[in-house]
Structure formats: C-alpha cells, structure tokens
C-alpha cells in the first residue's frame, strides 16, 4: 500500500485506501466489543443459590 504514497497523502485517505487494514479493523472491533464482551458477561453469570 505504501509503494506510491509519496508522503503527502493524508492519514485518513491512506487508511481508507488500505483494504487489508480495514479488513483487520472490521474483524477486531466487533469481535472484541460484541462477541467477546458478550460471552464474558454470560460466563460470569452466577450459579443460582
């Protein structure tokens, strides 16, 4: 991705031009915030007294 970035392309444009970085973000963000957080909450539900 950096082969033709001559240095003056803004950071956000470079981010939006990087499919694999976006793919990684699109996997990690929902996996952590939705899936992992949810499963951790379920696993910490106490056993009935």
């Amino acid at each position: 991705m950096s082969s033709d970035s001559s240095g003056n392309i803004p950071f956000m444009q470079r981010l939006l031009d990087s499919p694999f970085v976006l793919l990684a973000l699109g996997m990690v963000v929902p996996t952590m915030l939705y899936t992992v957080w949810g499963v951790v909450e379920i696993l910490s539900i106490p056993v009935a007294p």
């Binding site: 003056n8 392309i9 803004p10 956000m12 444009q13 939006l16 539900i45 106490p46 056993v47 009935a48 007294p49």
Partner: protein
Amino acid sequence: MSIFPTEEKIWWNEPVEKSEVLWVAISFIWALIMFFMMPYWHFAGEQNLSNEAYQISPDAFEEKTEAFAAKYTVREDPVSGYPIVAPPAGSDVYMYGKKWEWWPMLELQEGKSYRFHLSSLDYMHGWSLLPENINLQIIPNYEMVLTVTPTSNGEFSVVCNEFCGIGHHDMVGKIFVKK
C-alpha cells in the same frame, strides 16, 4: 463518478459542501439524543430490565416452581385444570415454559410489585404478555429475575412467541390481575 476511480489524487482535503456538513451535524446530534435516551430511561423510566440472572438446571427450576405453586395455590382453572397461584405482594414468583405450556397460572394484585423468576425446562420460549405486549426471551439453564408491577387489571395471556416445536402455537398461559 462513483463507478470510476477518484479523479483527484488527494481527495481527503477537498472541502465539503455546506448542506452536507449541516446534515452530518444534525444527524450526529440526533444520534447522541437517541443514545442518551437509553441510560436516561434507566433513571427516569419505569420499564427497564434488571440484568439479574442465574445459571440453573431445568430440574432445579422446576422444583422451585412446584414448591412455589404448592405454597400459594388458591384454586384450579375450571377449563384447563391448571393451578392458579396467588402469591403475596412483594414475594418471589416462579413461572416456567416448557413444550407447550406456561406453568402455573398467576393471580396478582394491581399496583403491587413481584419478583418474577422465569426460565425454560426445554427449548427457548418467548414470554409475551398480552394485550400489554411485553416480550421476554426465555432460555433454558438461565433464570431471569425481574420486578414486575401490574398497572392494569383483568385477564392477561402469556403467549409463546419463540418457535419451540410443532405445538408452539398452542402454548398459552394466564395471569389474572385483581384490583
């Protein structure tokens, strides 16, 4: 054009037309209002779910529910033969769903609060209180606890609104609320 690569090499720095900026700003404010309505309702509203829940085996929950019914049953429903259980205000109330019934029937008092314990003995069920239209997801092995205060009286049905097998559409329970 949207189907061709960008014309400008650097498009990020292009200024944005002002009606578009205005719309983004208005939409963002609306987004924040909608977001903060939810925590606000936890303080100001009367319809919130507690997240109190326990892991429990179906057998254990059935036992608790039967003990509850044995203690407070007042009569039988003449049509179905189901026990009608009238717990005192403020007490713990148990109801389970299983293929294809909600058990037992309840008799409550309007304006009084009850600690409801709901669970399933087999599949998932949907606890749908009608005609109020309050809907909860009931999952086996989990006991859901919430405080319920009827604010109206009469005969209410609990319909199942999660598919639970071929008899799903016959699964109905009752809650009677006295003035």
